[in-house]
């Protein structure tokens, strides 16, 4: 139990893949366009509410301080009996109505600005597919146009959990559109510093967009209760310079590297991997490992070792962590849908070594 405690406590800094990591996802510290729009109207609303709070609290405190009964003697005589006053009641009906109108204007405007935003054609498009309890990420590329002149999108490459996107600055703005879908229950994609959350609903396609201003790793969580491991359905968005991002994309597109012949452990691990039913849930591009027909049941492993963390951000990718995971995934993530494969210790060592070669 105690060992588990230490092991399950990946301090966030160990996960830092790219500079700077931003562990505090403060919505009042927005670092992207839609988040900033939300922030501005939120500040306005917060100020209005704070003023109302102060005024009403002051009224309450005044009344409480000013009108206490002065003991039994005082109470023999009742205070003047006032039943109401139309003017006063009218005043405190009309003023709130005026404030409400201001709020309505601000709100509807921000809703429109964010929701009805038309993204340019160059925008990056990524399908984010929610699974119990991890994220599948499918990067899309344009593949001609249909007969109405609308662009047709097809798969570029697939990865899992860690979303890489380019940064926007004055010279190059390239927002990202997320196309949100779920294969099981409702999840919700939430990276507070980049945008509010949007639910990821089965049988339905939702959209949101990100447009970050600064590079770094941003943290978020699945925000809709989705079962046992809802707590550990973490989100990591890695914002890179356009050059770094392109480099990363190229690496993801590349076919997998075979384990070097000298690395006997990894070579044996590859055999084990394909001999076990790992192949029936995970895919590795360019091999027979394709996951369950039609979709993927477990995260894509093609460039697994190029990520910083696994199990949707729960643990850093290290040889030890992977061994532990292979021995019993439920140890790290109780309730996870990957079964305990009952691997022998040798198999564990070998497969772990193999996975580490999947750069």
């Amino acid at each position: 139990m105690l060992a588990a405690l230490a092991w399950f406590a990946p301090t966030i800094s160990t996960l830092a893949a790219n500079d700077p990591i931003r562990p505090i996802a403060n919505m009042f510290d927005p670092l992207g366009t839609p988040a900033k729009m939300i922030h501005d109207s939120s500040i306005l609303v917060s100020i209005i509410c704070l003023v109302i709070f102060i005024v009403v609290t002051a009224m309450l405190v005044y009344v409480v301080i000013k009108f206490p009964s002065k003991g039994a003697e005082d109470e023999k005589k009742e205070p003047p009996q006032v039943y109401g006053s139309s003017q006063i009641e009218l005043a405190w009906t009309v003023i709130p109505i005026l404030i409400t109108i201001v709020l309505i204007l601000v709100t509807t405007r921000t809703i429109g600005e964010i929701q009805d935003k038309k993204l340019p054609n160059e925008a990056l498009r990524v399908r984010v597919i929610g699974h119990q309890w991890w994220w599948e990420l499918e990067y899309l590329k344009q593949d001609g146009v249909d007969k109405d002149g609308k662009p047709v999108w097809k798969r570029d490459f697939i990865t899992a959990n860690e979303l890489h996107i380019p940064v926007s600055d004055r010279n190059s703005t390239r927002p990202t559109q997320l196309i949100l879908e779920s294969v099981d229950v409702i999840h919700s994609y939430w990276v507070p510093q980049l945008n509010g959350k949007t639910d990821v609903v089965p049988n339905r396609t939702n959209h949101m967009w990100l447009d970050p201003w600064e590079t770094g790793t941003y943290l978020g969580n699945c925000a809709e209760y989705c079962g046992t491991q809802h707590a550990n359905m973490l989100i990591r968005v890695i914002v890179q310079t356009p050059e770094d991002f392109e480099k990363w994309c190229a690496a993801q597109r590349a076919s997998v590297v075979e384990p070097p012949v000298g690395d006997a452990l990894a070579v044996a691990g590859k055999k084990d991997y394909f001999a076990n039913s790992c192949v029936s849930c995970h895919s590795i591009a360019g091999t027979v490992s394709r996951g369950v027909e039609g979709g993927v049941f477990g995260p894509d492993l093609t460039h697994f070792a190029s990520r910083a963390s696994f199990a949707s951000g729960m643990a850093p990718i290290t040889l030890d962590n992977i061994r532990d995971w292979l021995r019993d995934p439920h140890h790290l993530k109780p309730g996870v849908l990957m079964p305990n494969m009952q691997l022998t210790d040798t198999e564990v060592d070998q497969i772990a070594a193999y996975l580490m070669t999947l750069k």
């Binding site: 505090i24 919505m27 709100t107």
Partner: protein, 566 residues
């Protein structure tokens, strides 16, 4: 210090002198009595008593949840146990604590306040209670079903709003969703029966002279609540039946694996769920409407507009349900519509808060316990209302919904609002029910411990919400800025628990040892204070006559009666 001697009302009111401690039977006769009673007062107390028992159980679960979240990466509760705890905590607090206690308040007080001898349909009334009572134990029985207590049985683990498709056969094996569904379906039937009873009682059993315009605001508010119950519960029952059809007869309303809709459930659920929130808070308003005037020594400020505001709130509350769904991917038009309708609720609610302050203005405020809880209510409900306004701004809600900010917001509503007025109600009317005062000293301890504990627990959750902490997570990693706020939150629970312990002790202790109350210890004005404490079986020996909104004021101030101004 008790105020005002028990004024003997004039000859219209004949008083049978029964005193506490008289005619106490053996245990078995007491139990028989409770089992077979149809008396609205006994049923009212049974509702409140069982509500308090469930409050303690659900509160212990909350404490366990908070213990698990006190530090990052804790291993006190397994994830599934945790998920069952928050589901059972939320479900119980709403359906087994909030609902029965407010029905208990209505049951006990409405007939007395309108000068009736009982509810309109006493047997239906008993039926409502037993439906609730058995469905509650049925829900808890789930802990012993399925894989048994050690694996936490088949207790529901789908959250109190049980979103589909988490409840469909594919994702909810075993019977946990069935326990949730069947228990609430049954208690819904009881709630509707009770609501009908309240409506008929207030419409047709008011005593001579009590026109609708003279009815105490408490009763008015419960009339509105009863209508809301009748409107709100059927959509819940409907979607629960649809869920059962899905699970057992292969229907596909919510089964997304077979093409069903996940969002359909949300619409049904919140068409119930949003009015439900007002069903829970309006009774709080009802208690405020009676207690604030008595302890300020002034009539309620703006009676007609208070009635109007209740009706407005109820009406608007039926058109705002989708503000729980701002993140589900509605169109911008849909989002705007529900944001606007939600903001409109702030207007009548604001009117109520101002009118209560207006009632206190120029009065002679006595800081007795019921009043203290009411003043705390005003302050806390103000915060709850303002965070509600913040959440109604849909873009803000995109950040905050399903975060700890929401947990803070609705606990400010439900504890800071509802629970505080329940306490006020109990301190105010306990003397009427049992003929003895609750201890002031113990009450003060309860008040301060609980109030401080409440704020220490829930205020920091606003901040953890701003920092991106989602709700319903059983653990979290270190280093995200949440540790300190969670630790505070968990520590606050200790103070709250201490307060509750003292409160429960007070209830028991004062039942035997409390100061004898007399019929009208607070020098109040509504009819229930005109009969004995506790009231006799048939409430009033002779039906009293009413000429104004404050019949007892008229009796006590023959020189300056209210009816002169009507």
């Amino acid at each position: 210090m008790a105020h005002g001697s028990s004024t003997t009302p004039e000859d219209d009111f004949v008083i049978t002198p029964t005193r506490p401690g008289e005619e106490k039977g053996s245990w078995s006769s007491v139990i028989q009595d409770l089992l077979f009673t149809v008396d609205h007062k006994k049923l009212g107390l049974m509702y409140i008593g069982s509500g308090l028992i469930f409050f303690v159980i659900a509160g212990l679960m909350a404490a366990a949840i908070r213990l698990q979240l006190a530090i990052p990466n804790a291993h006190f509760l397994e994830p599934d146990v945790f998920n069952r705890f928050f589901t059972m905590h939320g479900t119980a607090m709403v359906f087994l604590v909030g609902m029965p206690i407010i029905f208990g308040m209505a049951n006990y007080l409405v007939p007395l306040m309108v000068g009736a001898r009982d509810m309109a349909f006493p047997r239906l009334n008993a039926f409502g209670f037993w439906m609730f009572f058995f469905s509650a134990w049925f829900l808890y029985f789930s802990y012993f079903a399925g894989p048994g207590l050690y694996n936490a049985g088949s207790a529901p683990d789908v959250g109190w709003f049980a979103y589909s498709p988490l409840t469909s056969k594919a994702f909810s094996r075993g019977h946990s969703s069935d326990y949730w569904t069947l228990a609430l379906l049954a208690s819904g039937v009881g709630s509707i029966a009770t609501a009908i009873n309240i409506i008929v009682t207030t419409i047709s059993l008011r005593c001579k002279g009590m026109t609708l315009g003279r009815m105490p605001l408490f009763v008015w508010t419960f009339l509105v609540v009863a209508f809301l119950v009748i409107i709100a519960i059927p959509p819940l029952s409907a979607c629960q039946i649809m869920l059962l059809l899905d699970r057992y007869l292969g229907a596909k309303f919510f089964d997304t694996q077979a093409g069903g809709s996940a969002v359909l459930w949300q619409h049904f659920f919140w068409i119930f769920g949003h009015p439900e929130v007002y069903i829970l808070i309006l009774p709080g308003f009802a208690a405020m409407n009676e207690i604030v005037p008595v302890f300020s020594r002034k009539p309620i400020f703006g009676y007609p507009i208070m009635v109007g505001a209740n009706v407005m709130i109820a009406f608007i509350s039926l058109g705002v349900w989708a503000h729980h769904m701002f993140t589900v991917g509605m169109t911008s038009l849909g989002n705007s519509f529900f944001a606007i309708s939600t903001m409109l609720v702030a207007v009548p609610t604001g009117i109520k808060i101002f009118n209560w302050i207006g009632t206190m203005y120029g009065g002679k405020i006595r800081f007795e316990l019921p009043m203290l809880f009411c003043i705390a209510f005003l302050f806390q409900f103000l915060i709850a209302g303002l965070t509600g306004v913040m959440l109604s701004v849909a873009p803000f809600d995109w950040q905050l919904s399903d975060s700890y900010f929401v947990v803070a917001h609705f606990h400010y509503v439900l504890i800071g609002g509802l629970l505080f007025t329940i306490f006020a109600t109990i301190y105010f009317w306990y003397p009427k029910c049992f003929g003895r005062m609750l201890s002031h000293k113990l009450g003060m301890w309860h008040f301060w411990l609980f109030t401080i504990g409440f704020h220490v627990t829930f205020f920091p959750q606003h901040i953890s919400g701003f920092l991106g902490m989602p709700r319903r997570i059983y653990t979290y990693e270190a280093g995200r800025g949440w540790e300190i706020w969670n630790m505070m939150s968990s520590l606050g629970v200790i103070l709250q628990a201490a307060g509750i312990l003292i409160f429960v002790w007070n209830l028991i202790y004062s039942y035997r040892k409390g100061k004898i109350a007399g019929d009208d210890p607070w020098d109040a004005w509504t009819l229930e204070w005109a009969t004995t404490s506790p009231p006799p079986d048939y409430n009033f020996e002779k039906t009293p006559e009413v000429r104004s909104r404050r019949p007892l004021w008229d009796l006590k101030h023959p020189d300056d009666p209210d009816w002169k101004y009507e």
